[in-house]
């Protein structure tokens, strides 16, 4: 009896989380002129219109470019720092860890204001560069958390074996450690990309006028009214941000299976 109640509650919670999103996807295929019920038929017309909307395509290019650059920089910094924290005995490792994850302990609005005002003071105005700085600092802690968690499980003796067989530390890193770390690196990069791709809180502070990322573009479009086009854009984003990590996880699993880890 009690268990049935809990199960029913859990089902309701899942419905609450997914129903609104499912409605977005459903309405994006609505043939009618308005983004609302009742649906008048099934159609791809809103996706076609998306593909012809210059502003939206520009926003996609900006978001993808920003996301990729953020992922590369953030992952590089994050992997190096994680290696140091997991592989070496660093005095004050706890304090350093806390320092490195501080960007997610500070409310994002405050981080956004501080970075904007400081870089402006240094003469760096709202620009793509400022956006990139912001996204890197905001995604770095997540990369470090993910990479660190996975690095712990890579056994050191494999590296030691390579070294004892005469490999130099650099050879060992590139031929043994890095391949073993690849799933962690990919996971960190994907995480950084997705967070950057989704971000709006900081982005609205940092973006120069006229430049839109996909989330800020959606936000600007919401000012008018909700149109089927927004729902279609939402569907594309859901496919991208849900599909990519799932794909990434599948690839990571294949790689780690191949390498026998």
């Amino acid at each position: 009896m009690g268990w049935q109640l809990i199960r029913g509650w859990a089902v309701l919670v899942y419905l609450f989380m997914f129903l609104p999103v499912a409605v977005v996807v459903l309405l994006s295929f609505n043939a009618s002129e308005f983004g609302s019920f009742p649906m008048s038929g099934f159609s791809f017309r809103w996706f076609v219109e998306l593909a012809q909307n210059d502003a939206i395509l520009r926003a996609f290019r900006t978001s993808i470019g920003l996301g990729l650059m953020t992922a590369v920089i953030s992952t590089t910094l994050g992997v190096l720092a994680s290696l140091a924290l997991v592989r070496y005995r660093v005095p004050g490792a706890n304090a350093i860890s806390t320092l490195l994850i501080a960007p997610i302990l500070v409310p994002e609005v405050v981080l956004a204001v501080a970075l904007l005002l400081f870089l402006n003071f240094l003469g760096i105005n709202k620009s793509f560069g400022l956006l990139l700085f912001g996204h890197v600092i905001f995604t770095l802690p997540f990369v470090i958390l993910v990479v660190q968690a996975r690095l712990v499980s890579i056994r050191r003796d494999v590296e030691e074996a390579a070294m004892s067989l005469g490999a130099s530390p650099i050879q060992t890193f590139f031929q043994v450690t890095l391949p073993l770390m690849l799933p962690a690196v990919l996971a960190g990069g994907l995480f950084a990309f997705t967070i950057s791709f989704d971000d709006i809180t900081g982005t609205l502070f940092w973006k120069p006028g006229g430049v839109e990322t996909v989330p800020t573009q959606i936000f600007a479009m919401l000012r008018n009214s909700i149109s089927p086009e927004i729902n279609a854009l939402g569907t594309v984003m859901i496919v991208m941000t849900v599909g990519l990590p799932l794909l990434g996880a599948a690839i990571a699993r294949r790689i780690s299976r191949k390498s026998g880890a």
Binding site: S36, V90, L105, P107, L115, L116
Partner: protein, 288 residues
């Protein structure tokens, strides 16, 4: 250089890019806005450096700011409470569901990957004048005219709960999943009813996860300005909206600095209290 010295230097070389980034892009900017908050924005739009208390006086004594700060904390508290009430049983279900656990967990993680702005605006499709609920009620004849259900404080809280619930469920799950089920069985075999063993054994052991989820929900809710802009009315501004207004609309950066620091102080205090009693480790468990 000796091997030992190199061994000692290596980790710092690896750490330095990330540490430099965090110091230059977070800590120095935070210190900078502390200084900036004492400057003055003049009518001509230029900032006057110096030590002026005007911004702080305005931020701390103006009733307008105080009321919105209290309102924001209230919204964050309600959001956290609702997340806990909705999330705890769901997390319990996932933790004790045996074979389906992996799938249920994956489903739970999915919302993290779905864009925040999409999830927020999705409620317009449900509750808007031409949304699903109005269409349904019109169709059944319960109402004859569409009702405006959006753009009030309740929908802001609804949006925040929808956004933050996964954080709560995940943290409680991590905590519940780590509890040895033998403990509950032992309590049962010693004569406790299932309810008693839950209240006296499982619940206390899962409190760290509940606290971690609660802290995340509260801090994230109290720092948001997008949800009130999308789902709230003109009178539902939260404290972060004031910061956004001051910085982006009015361009009064010194005042915006003071307001940001106020928000940071209030939320930082909470994080510090949490850290003092429970430590950061639990929080990291849920995040990683």
């Amino acid at each position: 250089m000796s091997v030992e010295a190199r061994e000692k230097r290596q980790p710092w070389i690896l750490l330095s890019p990330a540490l430099t980034a965090v110091i230059l892009l977070l800590f120095v900017p935070l210190l900078f806005i502390v200084v900036y908050s004492f400057w003055l924005r003049t009518a001509t739009g230029a900032d006057v450096a110096g030590f002026h208390l005007d911004n702080w006086q305005e931020a701390l004594t103006d009733r307008f700011y105080r009321d919105i700060l209290l309102g924001t904390l209230r919204i964050a508290a309600i959001t956290t409470l609702v997340c806990a009430l909705m999330g705890y049983p769901a997390a319990y279900f996932i933790a004790r569901s045996g074979g389906n656990k992996a799938i249920l967990l994956l489903l739970l993680m999915l919302p993290f990957w779905i864009s925040y702005i999409i999830r927020t605006m999705s409620w317009i499709n449900i509750l808007g004048v031409s949304g699903a609920l109005n269409s349904f009620l019109l169709w059944t004849g319960v109402i004859s005219e569409p009702v405006q259900m959006l753009y009030n404080q309740t929908t802001v809280i609804l949006g925040l709960v929808h956004f933050l619930l996964p954080f709560m469920v995940l943290n409680v799950f991590v905590s519940l999943d780590g509890i040895d089920t033998n403990l509950e069985d032992a309590a049962n075999s010693l004569g406790a009813t299932r309810w008693q063993s839950f209240v006296q054994v499982t619940l206390p052991l899962s409190l760290p996860g509940l606290a971690a989820g609660g802290l995340l929900c509260f801090v994230l809710a109290a720092g948001t300005y997008i949800t009130p802009l999308v789902l709230g009315g003109p009178r539902d501004a939260m404290f972060a909206n004031l910061v956004f207004e001051a910085i982006i609309t009015q361009l009064n950066w010194p005042l915006g600095s003071a307001l940001s620091l106020m928000l940071l102080a209030v939320l930082g205090l909470l994080v510090a209290i949490y850290n003092r009693y429970l430590g950061m480790a639990q929080l990291m468990k849920g995040l990683g």
